[in-house]
């Protein structure tokens, strides 16, 4: 335990004790908890308890902006409410010999604190609708990537099974003989929007790319397109964000974003490996020579 934590715990205990002794336990308690909440939030990033770095996708940046906007609104509200609460606790606490008075409330006040939050909520819901639409509405996806999903990702207790179409072909809903398969290892080209088809083989899972701020539930029986764009070259985590059983904690994979040319090479290598029949110049050679001309038909 760091000395700071010990000092902080002792300090908090002292504040609570002082509060209890001066008959101000509850004001001390709520004051302390508010200070602690704000303090922890401010310190969190330096302890890496915060978002895992800046968003690495354009959608992620917009989602972060929304997040921070809502965070600011709620922080201001939180602090304001606590100031009022603590003031009230101190000002109106029971005093010996003083009789409590009863108030029927203020109509004007009620109206104000109904309308103000309602207006804030309305503002947030209108403000985010554009991002929400672009994240959730299939029709708004980039047309080329929508029509050419890179892969089908099937969640299964407790892994991600990935199916790519053969190079130069389109992903079909039904598995094709020349499809390419991997587990827990999703490759996509970076710097352009890509779409994956998300499915589940058993229970609810959630496809979560924390560094890209992309999260989408996988629902048994449904095929859900998910669009994202990786703004980096390299590897990031893919995790399951829906408690799906005992092995949920280890249901993780890896997203590799690479140059388009490297991605194409990755698929071709995968294809060569997967069509290995141990016969020199066999299937593997046949598919490799074949894939190139077909790729040109591609829009």
């Amino acid at each position: 335990m760091s000395p700071w934590l010990i000092i902080l715990s002792l300090g908090s205990a002292a504040v609570l004790l002082a509060g209890a002794l001066t008959k101000k336990f509850w004001p001390a308690f709520f004051g302390l908890s508010a200070v602690a909440t704000v303090g922890i939030s401010v310190l969190a990033p330096s302890y890496r308890w915060w978002l895992p770095g800046g968003a690495q996708s354009p959608m992620g940046t917009e989602i972060d902006d929304l997040f921070y906007m809502i965070l600011i609104i709620t922080t201001v509200t939180y602090i304001a409410v606590h100031v009022v609460l603590i003031t009230a606790l101190i000002k109106f606490s029971g005093k010996p010999g003083v009789k409590a008075s009863f108030s029927h409330g203020s109509h004007a006040l009620e109206v104000v604190w109904t309308i103000v939050p309602a207006a804030i909520l309305l503002f947030i819901s209108l403000y985010q609708i554009d991002v929400w639409m672009r994240f959730r509405n299939f029709a708004t996806f980039n047309r080329h990537s929508r029509e050419n999903p890179v892969a089908e990702v099937t969640a299964r207790q407790f892994e991600w099974r990935i199916r790519y179409p053969a190079p130069g072909k389109k992903l079909m809903q039904k598995p094709q003989p020349d499809d390419l398969y991997t587990v827990n290892d999703l490759h996509v080209p970076f710097g352009e929007p890509v779409v994956i088809q998300l499915r589940s083989e058993d229970v609810l899972h959630s496809f979560f790319l924390p560094h890209l701020r992309i999260k989408q539930d996988a629902v048994p029986g449904a095929i859900i397109p998910v669009q994202f764009q990786a703004n980096f070259e390299g590897e990031q985590e893919l995790v399951c964000a829906e408690l799906c059983g005992w092995g949920h904690y280890k249901m993780r994979g890896q997203l590799t974003a690479q140059r388009k040319s490297e991605f194409d090479k990755y698929l071709r290598d995968l294809q060569a490996r997967q069509s290995d029949d141990g016969v020199s110049g066999g299937r593997a050679a046949a598919v490799v020579t074949q894939a190139t001309p077909k790729a040109e038909n591609h829009p």
Partner: protein, 486 residues
């Protein structure tokens, strides 16, 4: 009064949380003995005064316990020599690889495969198929022939891809850590097989009766009998360990891997030397070792091999012969119709009879699944060898009920590459009842026709249709639909 209640309440909650937080200590991991080993009556070995279970003693001496492993130099295991690696300080100790492997195994595998690798971890009873029990030294999905152990590469493939269609997950993200895990799996498998083989050795020396609890106890046996046992035991220990060491060394030998037969250039040439002209031949300049290079000569529409060529001379031909050998049209990379037809013929023939297990419709429900099968000699229940299982259907060598694969689903546990499926048809599936066909089908093209047929099935079931090739093979009458008759 009220205030002190709040105060003590808070303190009580905090203390409670701290207590639940974990002072619980997990018990020390132990290698458990096989049931058969536990049946053995203690004996006095050599000049020892006290009687011990000889198998247990040998296991303890040569393999240790999970917390203090013994590295037996005799076995082909890479225990990990101490390395000066600043990035990996844990590699500084002798035997680091096995220790590291054990730690990772305990973290990732133990809840399914068990501490001793007996496939009986706490999660195992909820799984179908059951996690592998490594102790028989048998592995199903590998590239090596017959009962040969899997190579390190095979184990790596299993770990990287997982076993699709089962609960065995992929560990591809462990990357560099796979190697130590593989060594530890080999260690556990050697240990387990050592145990079973020693038991059989004792059985050989003493006969079955002496082993049973309540039988005559060797510790009290006359001096000559003990001397005889001691001699036999010494031999057994030596024999079993050298056998095992050899078995696992063979696994990594390149000759143990099944490769398609007739894959040499000479055979290509033979196919092409077929008197019937087969059209044009294309050459590709692939580099091959000199002894596999052959020049093909061409005269009046016929081809034949002339002689081996030197490096810079012509390479290698494949188009025509490839089609004849693997049933794949080299232009499309897809199976030819002829190959699929022949595959079907074999599938339904009495001689090959895949249908007997995999079913008339390929759904893994053939007539064999209705039979009562016998307990095998190598199963953990070997005491009951020859008796029939109580449940209908196939059982694997671990005595687990086993269904032949539903070939329509297109999920292959041992890998979906054509070479993987070729190996399954060539050598069968070790430990499962699926036989190999390398001896009954000496022509490789037959094996490839079967592979082509099987791999096409998930995408096109119309290839099942048509008259059956052998009149003695008759599918059962179509099941009556009870609803239709109402």
């Amino acid at each position: 009064m009220n205030r002190s209640r709040q105060f003590f309440g808070t303190v009580a909650v905090l203390v409670g949380v701290a207590l639940c937080g974990g002072c619980a200590k997990s018990p020390e991991p132990k290698f458990v003995l096989a049931k058969s080993t536990e049946e053995i009556v203690p004996v006095r070995i050599g000049d020892e005064k006290t009687a011990v279970n000889p198998v247990e003693a040998a296991l303890h001496e040569n393999f240790g316990t999970p917390n203090s492993l013994v590295a037996w130099e005799l076995f082909p295991l890479d225990y990990g020599k101490a390395e000066d690696d600043l990035d990996h300080p844990e590699r500084g100790t002798e035997g680091w690889k096995l220790l590291h492997g054990r730690n990772l195994y305990m973290q990732h595998c133990v809840h399914c495969h068990g501490t001793s690798g007996d496939g009986a971890g706490p999660t195992a009873k909820f799984l179908n198929p059951r996690p592998r029990d490594y102790r028989l030294g048998k592995f199903k999905f590998k590239s090596t022939a017959g009962a040969i152990r899997p190579s390190r590469e095979d184990l790596r493939t299993t770990l990287e891809h997982g076993i699709p269609g089962t609960s065995m997950p992929s560990f591809v993200l462990l990357k560099d850590d796979l190697e130590p895990i593989i060594e530890y799996v080999r260690f556990l498998s050697m240990r387990g097989e050592y145990e079973f083989r020693l038991y059989k050795g004792i059985q050989g020396i003493l006969g079955r009766k002496v082993l049973a609890k309540g039988g005559s106890v060797p510790a009290e046996a006359p001096e000559e009998a003990r001397a005889e046992f001691n001699d036999g035991w010494k031999d057994t220990l030596e024999q079993v360990s050298t056998d095992l060491a050899e078995a696992w060394t063979t696994a990594d030998a390149p000759e143990s891997i099944i490769n398609p037969r007739e894959a040499t250039i000479l055979d290509d040439a033979k196919v092409l030397a077929d008197p019937k002209p087969r059209g044009s031949v294309k050459f590709s300049g692939e580099t091959l070792p000199a002894d596999r290079r052959v020049k093909l000569d061409h005269k009046e529409g016929q081809y034949w091999a002339v002689k081996s060529l030197k490096d810079e001379e012509l390479g290698f031909v494949h188009h025509e012969s490839l089609e004849a050998r693997t049933g794949i049209d080299p232009k499309t990379g897809k199976p030819t119709e002829k190959s699929l037809k022949r595959g079907r013929e074999l599938y339904y023939s009495q001689a090959v009879a895949c249908f007997k297990c995999h079913g008339y419709g390929g759904r893994g429900d053939g007539p064999s699944t209705e039979d009562f099968w016998e307990v095998g000699n190598d199963s953990p229940l070997f005491q009951y060898a020859g008796q029939k299982y109580e449940v209908r259907g196939l059982h694997d060598d671990w005595d687990n009920h086993l269904e032949p694969r539903n070939l329509i689903r297109g999920v292959y546990r041992g890998g979906r590459r054509p070479i993987d499926l070729y190996r399954k048809v060539f050598a069968g599936i070790n430990g499962a009842k699926m036989p190999g066909f390398s001896t009954s089908l000496t022509n490789d093209s037959d094996l490839w026709d079967l592979v082509n047929f099987v791999t096409t099935l998930p995408y096109d079931q119309s290839i099942l249709q048509g008259p059956l090739p052998d009149p003695s093979v008759q599918p059962p009458a179509a099941p009556v639909n009870p609803q239709a008759s109402n």
